[in-house]
Symmetry: C2
Subunit: 435 residues, 2 copies
Amino acid sequence: MSGKPRVVIVGGGFAGLYAARTFAKAQVEVLLIDRNNFHTFTPLLYQVATCALDPSSIAYPLRTIFRKHDNVAFLMGTVTDIDTVEKHIIVETAAGPVIEPYSHLIVATGTVTNYFGQAAIEKHGFGLKNLDDAVILRNHILSLFERAAWVNDTGVRDALTTLVVVGGGPTGIETAGALYELYNYVLKNEYDSVSPKMRARVILLEALPQLLGPYPERLQKAAKKQLESLGVEVMLNAMVSDVEPDTIYLKDGRSIRTHTLVWSAGVKTSPLVQKLGVELQKGGRVPVEPNMRIVGQPDIYAVGDIAYLLDEEDKPYPQLIPVAKQQGILAANNILNAMAGKPMSTFSYSDRGIMATIGRSRAVAWIFYRIQLTGFLAWLAWLFLHLVALLGFRNRLSVFISWIWNYLTYDRSVRLILDTSKDNQPLKEMADETT
Amino acid sequence: MSGKPRVVIVGGGFAGLYAARTFAKAQVEVLLIDRNNFHTFTPLLYQVATCALDPSSIAYPLRTIFRKHDNVAFLMGTVTDIDTVEKHIIVETAAGPVIEPYSHLIVATGTVTNYFGQAAIEKHGFGLKNLDDAVILRNHILSLFERAAWVNDTGVRDALTTLVVVGGGPTGIETAGALYELYNYVLKNEYDSVSPKMRARVILLEALPQLLGPYPERLQKAAKKQLESLGVEVMLNAMVSDVEPDTIYLKDGRSIRTHTLVWSAGVKTSPLVQKLGVELQKGGRVPVEPNMRIVGQPDIYAVGDIAYLLDEEDKPYPQLIPVAKQQGILAANNILNAMAGKPMSTFSYSDRGIMATIGRSRAVAWIFYRIQLTGFLAWLAWLFLHLVALLGFRNRLSVFISWIWNYLTYDRSVRLILDTSKDNQPLKEMADETT
């Protein structure tokens, strides 16, 4: 180890990634830790789950990103504890636990699915927060359709092809729209020669009286209308009360026969934040000073979805990728400022608005919180901004073109039921015995 | 069910696929059964295992292939029994066992890895016969490198980065070459800033005194020389006697410290052939008449790797894709001939030669068993023939171009450790309770 200060960054999502990049060529040693060996472009997870994209199209090896940054090391593992007195962390790796010291720590571990303590939903539902989730959901849906093709009982068959998405935020809307398109443009054509009566339903449940909470009413209504014009059934004021393997029960007494509950109705911060020794705010978020330093912890910074910081209107900054990126960069710069004895900068969010896509030529966008776009124009804006984001993150124009190609040709080419769990024994056998 | 004859085809590999295609538009009802929902372009499996290709690039949904063939139905499942008296089969599906009657049956279930009864090799070794195998091997190798980067003990670290391939046939040679290239062109650059002493070894073990058994001596030697020029260590006359989690023991007393044994040293026919009620030949192969009908079973045909048929020189036809394709087509045509009261045709192999690739610009080819090519020319021939084969099988020029692009740019972009086994419970929970 060199004599340079050692910054440890926990989490290779957008916040952690942009923090690490900011240290390139600086006189610090950086250790980036993530439980995966890749960064995930999460806005397109739903496209992996709905067979439009390969997992590798939205994941990029972290070591490749930092191949030319000699001061950035990568460790694959899960941070299980933080010792703020000794200034080190404990990382659970495939080779057992290791201790890594830090001079400065950036925690950027993001959120996990929040089932709000409802064990039945957690047991039977499918999250959509990471690449594993997306592949598992893809396998599940394709398997159900294979089974449905050979079932004669109408009720049983319809339950197999009824897909329910819970949560009327951007992820829920995008997923519901993409699921219906997967059925309507692809699966329908491949099953109808055998089972002409096979049909799918995609139902979007939202507990509130409207979709897309933070959007203006006009866009909320446009989103609902566009979803319905596509074929998705939208049910508002619909709260899930219980789930069984083949049924979802709603609070108002209704029920839906289905084997697929995609839960996009909430997130909570990753468990690691409980090791920070501070009182957490709403959603388990970590209170930070405007310079991104954790309140009461001079050498620890929290950035991205786990950070709790109020804007000028006393509302917490939203858990969005642009916030995460900007906070990651700010925390890294403030660590460099502190080392150089310079004053720290405070967070000021450069916000270009919010948008959600619904399906082919369908989207809503609220640009700079002034311009409200719906339909094809909003969809073009969504495409353009994701193109820019994906390119900024890595130079993979060809992937994006192939994605647009898929999208325009109505094809979904990645329809593999690929479950690598069964034969996994050798992996564990040969991997568990070195230390 | 219609009144038409019902042909059941077991196996969606090359033999089964080409048989099913031959029935397109014929007055028969076809049921194609496979345990996967996709056909696998097996010659490129080693490229998935070595991070060069996405799984979806070499797998194509069977339903898509037969989308326009109204007389071909698909059932995902594993055939567990054949009742030749009642003329039906038992298929284990996700919804339980189902019985499917046939008027004619084509068995095309191919081969599985043969560990020759050596339990230790089966437990610790990695096969490379299907897409699951390829993804499991990819995950395993990438995980070992992540661990090796943080190990200080030289012996332990070298064991993690020593990759052993057993079997000097085409698969073993291709895999060993591709593994060394993965290390040499990609992984080396990503780990050396952190662990400058990290180095990998790729060792190819062959029990016989030469590689590529059926090839002429000149090509056998050229293959060995090319592998060694790449960086692969070739050990001939090397038989594995035992395997432990971190060591391979050879019969001659030598041992290799490693956590990775890729077993490409043998295949045997799938277990289903034991249900055919015939005496099996060498390698568990099923004796067939020259019209591909199983000896003593008038309505059952065996095609591809499971079929045992002698050529003019009294040698069994090799277990190769061109043989499988041609036998699948012949069996289908002979069933149509039988139905029409026409005489059956007999198998005559149109054989253009054999080839094996070793790595970038390295290959050996024996074209029409007359022209012997090595090096760049052989590699170009390999590329060209696989391009033609892939295009014949589906129109996916773009995938092939992207693959050549990867190959030429020395990149391996699919380096994800993606294990979907852990959270798989919901899939099983919600899938197991319908019938």
